[in-house]
Symmetry: C2
Subunit: 239 residues, 2 copies
């Protein structure tokens, strides 16, 4: 059976790179990049180009793209959108191409670009993502974008949620994945409350994302499967 | 109140280095370096010098030190001792000075040598360690030695055990520490069984440390407090 490993920080990614082109990767940035990407496709976005710097997004804006840039939780001044899923309404994004740069998530996508498949995972498309993963026979990396290279609970919890769905079809002997599964089993019945106790005061408040927290923790509300391929993200699933 | 943060891998240590000289650090390598260090002092060792390479331990052997070297779980050929706590008997180590090199633990000790205090923690000296930590007013880093820079369960569980003892006297808003506490609460009533399910097959078996596992998970059996200071480790607690 193929194996699952969980990368709890981008700073550990190099430990898992061997044979990357034969592995599938799920990039996880629950608060908020990969959640926002799922919402954008659900509301009809055509394509999302992850870029490293706000200037790159701004350059795309000249060519008719929507430019979205977030740093430290805030929309960068002069950009059309930030990183809040609630801003990616059908009115704003249907039929549009979006150039997006965020603090943690877009960087993680670029780090694993040579993998066999790279998907964006969020609680919103958990089942759609897992349905596809269950058809795959390659080793799987659950890649948590983390917070400035530190461990964070919300990404790890999602890795645990995926592993729990897949565990009968994959070998799981990786300590990080086992820990993630146990943490998700503890948290699953009250995810928002569990995360409120986390780095709430120092991180969530400073990011002004309290109102996004609930939106980012809805489970199985969207039938989308964003795939990062040839440098850009498209929706591989159409309802 | 001072704060606790948990470093789940040496590869993340650089994220916590700012102000290190004002922080206390507990180095955690449950399987097996910090456990073995505790056992050695309990059995009368005078001093333990952590060295990076087997050649350095061999050089100390010429000067009457016991030379201990472990790589990949095995005693390095030609050395007096490896890294199994069961080998550090009173007969072998009482009154002796020991030069020790291990895969993960001694490296972690050296990384944090400029901290205010650096102690070695294990389940065996949990309460003695926490009694001392409760008298300190500096921020605390729980530094897991990990396994080749990857997350491991046993070190993280011990970090959770320490944080649970200290939580009324320290601020804990760090996600890694919160996760460690929840994992320890789940595992505490059956630690050996919990760790058997972990990377058992691929890591414990290959290290031939099954017989050490039980010895490394005894709780509060030793009244020792190994402190790393001026490049060497001495016992700061005498029963």
């Amino acid at each position: 059976m193929p194996a699952i490993e969980t990368i709890i920080s981008p700073a550990l990614f190099h430990l898992y790179e061997e044979g990357l082109e034969q592995k599938n990767v799920v990039v996880i940035d629950i608060l908020r990049a990969t959640t926002t990407i799922c919402v954008a496709f659900a509301n009809g976005a055509r394509e999302i180009l992850p870029v490293a710097k706000p200037e790159e997004a701004a350059a795309m804006q000249q060519m008719g793209w929507i430019a979205a840039a977030e740093r430290m939780g805030e929309t960068v001044s002069g950009f059309d959108l930030g990183n809040s899923p609630q801003d990616y309404t059908r009115e704003r994004v249907a039929g549009q191409k979006i150039a997006l740069t965020t603090t943690n998530g877009t960087r993680a996508l670029q780090m694993c670009s040579t993998a066999k498949h790279v998907w964006a995972g969020s609680f919103l498309n958990l089942q759609t993502l897992c349905d596809r993963l269950l058809t795959e026979n390659n080793d799987l990396l659950l890649f948590c974008a983390g917070w400035k290279d530190k461990f964070n609970l919300e990404d790890t919890l999602f890795a645990g949620a995926v592993a729990l769905v897949l565990r009968d079809r994959f070998t799981i002997t990786d300590d990080a994945t086992l820990a993630a599964m146990d943490l998700y089993e503890k948290a699953r019945t009250a995810l928002p409350e569990y995360l409120q106790k986390a780095s709430h005061d120092i991180r969530f408040n400073s990011l002004h994302i309290e109102s996004d927290l609930e939106a980012c923790l809805k489970i199985n509300t969207l039938n989308v499967l964003p795939e990062f391929k040839n440098g850009t993200i498209q929706n591989g699933q159409h309802a």
